[in-house]
Each structure stands twice: as C-alpha cells, then as structure tokens.
C-alpha cells in the first residue's frame, strides 16, 4: 500500500477543452472547498488558535519547559536514526526491485508495504512480545542488563518499523519508470557499478529521495500509537513530542498541549511545502 503519489504523471494537459457550464463549476468547486475546509483547514486552524489563545509569551514558555525540550530532543534523535536507516534500505531495495526482474516480486513489494497497513498498536505490541520481560529475549536481556523496551532503543525500533516502507515505496515506481537504458549505456561505456549509480541513477532519483525522506521524517517524528506502547512514559526520558502532547493535554494544560502540537503542525506544513517543491521537480525530471 504505497502512499499514492503523483510521481508518475505527466504534466497536466494544457488548455482545456469542453467543460461544464459555469454554474455547475461554481457549485462543484464550492462543495469541494467546503469539504476540505471542514476536514482539513478547520482542524489545522484550531491547533494554532488554541496554541496562541493566551498570547505569544505563554506559548514560548510552554515550549521552554524542560520535559518538553527533552521530548523534542528525543524526537530529533529518533528521526535522525530511523530516516537514514530506511533511506539506505529504500535505495537498495528499489535498485534490486526496479532494475531487475525476478519471481516473487509482487510478494516482496507486498511485504515491504506491510507496515503501512498494520495498526500502530500491533507494531508496538510485537516489540513487547520480543523484548518484554516475558518475551522471547526477555530473560536474556535481563541477565545482561540490556534495556530495550521502555527505553530509547525500543522507541527507535518501533519508529523504524512504522516508517520502514516510505522511502522504498517512493523510489520503486520512480526507478521502474526510468528504466535502465541510461545505466546500461554507462556500463557499456566502461563505468563501474558504483560510478553508474552515483553519476547516473542518483541524480535521476534525487527528488524522489527528498520526497520520500520528508514523508518518512514526518511520520518518524509524529508516530503516536506504536511509540506509546513501547515508551513507558518516563518524563524527560522516554517521552517523544506526540506523547508529550498527550501528557500535557491530560494535565489540563491545554494551551501548552496545543503549543507543543503546533510544533508538529509547523513540521507538517514545512513537509507539505518541501513535498510540493520536490513533486514539481520530480515531474520536471520525468519529462523525456
């Protein structure tokens, strides 16, 4: 289940042709915009309106709270570990899958997609089953005093799991559509495998990578369900930003909760902006 993208599409057709009568266009546009306003714009506006309800000073104060800062730090670390790992995997997997044909390709792609559709709760649960005191490795870990669950490693693992397919699923269709003519030509002309990859393939998929990384990053920083199961909720140590939002919300500290939530909303907006730019560039690259 890939996050559907428009990487494969050509430019929108030029000036259009027959269309609906103006009143119909107006009505349809209005209905679509009202729908989007109700479901997308209003909630987004609500985050910021609640965050700044008590003024900018309170807002800043809420963000400077030590536990919140610790949560921000943990979230940054989590993304800094999960995204590069999945990036390496994404490039490797898309090379193997897009540039070669082999039996069982569809099954492999389905397996890569699996973390997309597995409920986050299940993603957390599996790590409890493996690393929990009563889990497979529980006794071993306890004997060697290695902490995974309810500590930073558990949070990293859960995050890597839920963000696993993002980059691979972005690159596979892109590389498939580009074919392998250019690479083959380079090889015939005597370039080595790595040279071919860095000189030919990488520039071609550059924007696809950026696009995948930014989506992967957004999810890594925003994951709630899976991380909530494995975190242990120790303040200042194992709370990520989304968990901190929940905690503040539960402490009647609504303004602070929404202030921290607005950080994540900002992140979402930046993600959307970068995504739009990347998408535009991918389309440019796709032009023959």
């Amino acid at each position: 289940m890939s996050a559907p993208t428009r990487t494969l599409t050509a430019h929108a057709n030029g000036n259009h042709r027959i269309t609906e009568p103006a009143p119909v266009r107006w009505v349809l546009t209005t209905v679509a915009l009202v729908f989007l306003a109700l479901f997308l714009a209003l909630p987004l506006a609500a985050v910021f309106s609640q965050a700044f309800e008590k003024g900018f000073g309170t807002y800043l104060l809420a963000l400077k709270e030590p536990d919140t800062l610790a949560a921000v730090k943990l979230t940054l670390i989590t993304a800094a570990v999960a995204v590069p790992l999945n990036l390496v995997f994404g490039v490797m997997a898309s090379w193997a899958i897009a540039k070669f044909s082999f039996p069982g390709k569809n099954l492999l792609i389905t397996l890569i997609d699996l973390p997309f559709s597995v409920s986050p709760i299940i993603s957390g649960l599996i790590y409890v089953l493996i690393f929990g005191r009563q889990g497979w490795l529980g006794p071993f870990l306890e004997a060697h005093d290695i902490k995974i669950l309810f500590a930073v490693p558990g949070i990293l693992l859960a995050t890597i799991f839920v963000t696993f397919p993002f980059i691979a699923r972005e690159l596979i269709p892109l590389m498939e559509s580009q074919g392998r003519d250019e690479e083959e030509a380079a090889m015939v002309l005597g370039a080595s495998g790595l040279q071919t990859f860095f000189r030919i393939t990488l520039p071609n998929i550059k924007w696809g990578i950026i696009y995948g990384v930014i989506l992967c990053n957004a999810r890594a920083m925003g994951e709630f369900g899976a991380v909530s199961v494995v975190s242990g909720h120790i303040r200042g140590i194992t709370n990520t930003v989304p968990l901190q939002v929940e905690i503040l919300y539960n402490e009647y500290n609504y303004t602070a909760a929404f202030a921290v939530a607005s950080l994540l909303a900002f992140l979402a907006l930046i993600t959307l902006a970068v995504k739009s730019v990347a998408e535009w560039n991918v389309r440019e690259n796709m032009e023959p």
Binding site: R133, F150, I234, R235, G236, I247, N250
Partner: protein
C-alpha cells in the same frame, strides 16, 4: 609489563569504587497512576531536599503516569520502576504474581501500605442543574454520567464498586438489585475513557455529561485548575474508602542497589511533611492530626464490602464478569 597492567587495573578499580562511594547520584523511577502527577511532583522535590540534608546524596526521581492497569503491565513487561504507587492493590498483586515483589508486600508499610486514602465524589456543573445529590440520582433517565472504563482504569473500578455497595446498602438491597442499579447507571454513560484523566477531560473540556464520577483529589484539582465558577463538588451520603497502595519493586531495587533510598522515599510519604503534601493535594492523610479540608463521609473499605480485591476483580471485572454482562459484552 604484566605488573603494569595489573596495577593499572587495580588503580582503575580503586578510582571507580571511590567515585561510586563519594558522588552518590541516585535516580529512582516512580511508576504511578493518573491523578497523582501533581502530588508526586511536590513530593519528589521535598524528598530530594530531605535526602540531601540527611545523606548528602543527590536523588532525582523520575515519574511515569498512566492508567493503573497499563502502568502495572509496563512494569511486568520490564519498565524498571524502583517503586510503584498505583490506584489499587490488585494491580500491584499482578506485579507480585510475576515474582517482582515479595509476597506479603502490603504488610511492609503501615495501613495496608497506603500512606493516603481517597474516595469517590461527584463533580457536577455549576448550580447542579440536574439536582444530583446522591448515588440514586445517577440512574435517573436523562442524567448523563461520565466515568472511565473499569476494565482499564483503577479509579473507574472504585467508582463502580462504590455504586454497587451503595445499592446493596439500601433497604432490601442484595446482589441482584445492585446489579440492576449498576446496569442502569452504565446505561447513562455515553463515553468510557481508558483512564481517569481522559474522563475528566471529556467532562470538563468537551462539555459532555451532567456528572463526573471522580477521585476526590481529581475533582478538587479540576475545580482549581479550571475555575470554581464552572463546577462544584457533590459528596454522596456514603462512598468507598479508596486505598492506593505503594511498594518497592524488590527485584529492580535490589538489582539497581536502590533499595535503601526507595524504602526511605516511601516512608517519607508517612512523615508529617509527606502527609501535609498529601492533604495539600486533596488526598486524605492517614495521620489524623494533619488538618484537611475534606468533608466527612461515611466510608467503607473494599475488604468490608467485597471481601478484598482479588474477589472483587474476579466477580466484577474479569472477562465474562458482571461488568461484561451489563455492557452486553459477555455471552448471554
């Protein structure tokens, strides 16, 4: 050469042991339930000062809060808590069953290891528009009651049992009438959050429901945090004596070498200072000399009314138990 290495090793060992002996920088993890956040923030500060004065060591206490059952499960699965301070003994029993706490833990500290008690009261909207005075007002048609899910929330189990006991104490009351009473009560519940805090938020912030069944301290906190002009507290004619117990997790404390400070930390809750903090956060201190502003209520214990937690849990909250029967979740 060998000699040099040996002496280096000895030196390194000596240095490390000295460091350990001098700069004792201890961290404890207190895994607690939902409504104690503010209480333990204060207690931790006071205890750190007290401990520094007594031993010269610096102690930092980390907190983790959530639904009582959820927290106990995390400890069972390996959350390294030095002490737990949960909503009810049943959840600590569950940890003890797994061998993390020695049997008989509840006798380690005075008063069933509960340094403070609480009870269940009603939080209603200002002016009490639905005229809710006592438990039997909760089952009237048109009254919307907010309580968390007894399956996951400790507070909700106290709520449920308090209602049950009230019905049983009525003239002609027995198990059948109590079941009917509680069944009617839960028909009036539109939302079941998984924890006490979730319910308070639903009632207070989302404006849902006419009455919130809440921990007494939670009700006062809601009023203080969110304005006395919006809510008021109704104390029913009788309620249950909730004893939230505390204990050291033996296995963790022994492994981490924190037993002494962990025990002192819990004992600190029984000192005048600890008791005053409990009173300040609207818990009922067990030391009767500590003044409290809380109203006198007729309270009975879980042992008196239900024969202890194990029994209450099995009858009411296990799968297929009475709670499942009244919500229709059990097979008929």
């Amino acid at each position: 050469m060998k000699k040099i290495i040996t002496s280096f090793t000895t030196l390194a060992l000596a240095v490390s042991t000295t460091v350990a002996a001098f700069a004792a920088d201890v961290t404890l993890l207190n895994v607690s339930y939902d409504p104690t956040r503010e209480l333990y923030t204060d207690v931790n500060k006071s205890f750190a000062t007290y401990w520094k004065g007594k031993t010269g060591d610096k102690v930092t206490i980390k907190q983790s809060h959530g639904g009582s059952g959820k927290q106990a499960r995390a400890v069972i699965d390996g959350l390294e808590a030095d002490v737990v301070t949960l909503a009810l003994a049943y959840d600590i029993d569950a940890i003890a069953e797994k061998g993390l706490i020695k049997p008989g833990w509840q006798k380690e500290l005075p008063k069933n290891s509960s340094p403070y008690t609480s009870t269940i009261v009603f939080l209603v909207r200002k002016g009490n528009p639905k005229k809710i005075k006592n438990w039997d007002d909760l089952i009237k048609p048109g009254v919307s009651v907010i309580t968390p899910n007894p399956k996951t929330s400790g507070g909700a189990r106290w709520n449920y049992l308090a209602a049950w006991a009230f019905a049983k104490h009525q003239p002609g009351g027995n198990d059948a009438t109590a079941k009917e009473f509680v069944s009617k009560l839960f028909k009036n519940v539109p939302v079941l959050d998984s924890g006490a805090r979730g319910s308070t938020n639903t009632f207070v912030q989302r404006g849902l429901g006419d009455v919130l069944l809440a921990w007494e301290n939670e009700a006062f906190l809601a009023i203080n945090e969110l304005g006395p002009d919006k809510f008021e507290i109704v104390t029913p004619s009788e309620s249950i004596l909730a004893e939230p117990p505390v204990t050291v997790i033996d296995k963790v404390a022994d492994k981490r070498g924190t037993r002494k400070v962990a025990e002192e930390y819990l004992k600190f809750l029984y000192t005048d200072e600890g008791q005053k903090l409990a009173a300040k956060h609207y818990y009922r201190p067990i030391n009767t000399k500590i003044p409290t502003k809380l109203a006198k209520v007729k309270l009975y214990t879980i042992d008196q009314a239900f024969g202890g937690w194990q029994k209450a849990q099995k009858t009411h909250f296990s799968d297929g138990g009475i709670f499942d029967q009244i919500t229709g979740a059990a097979k008929k």
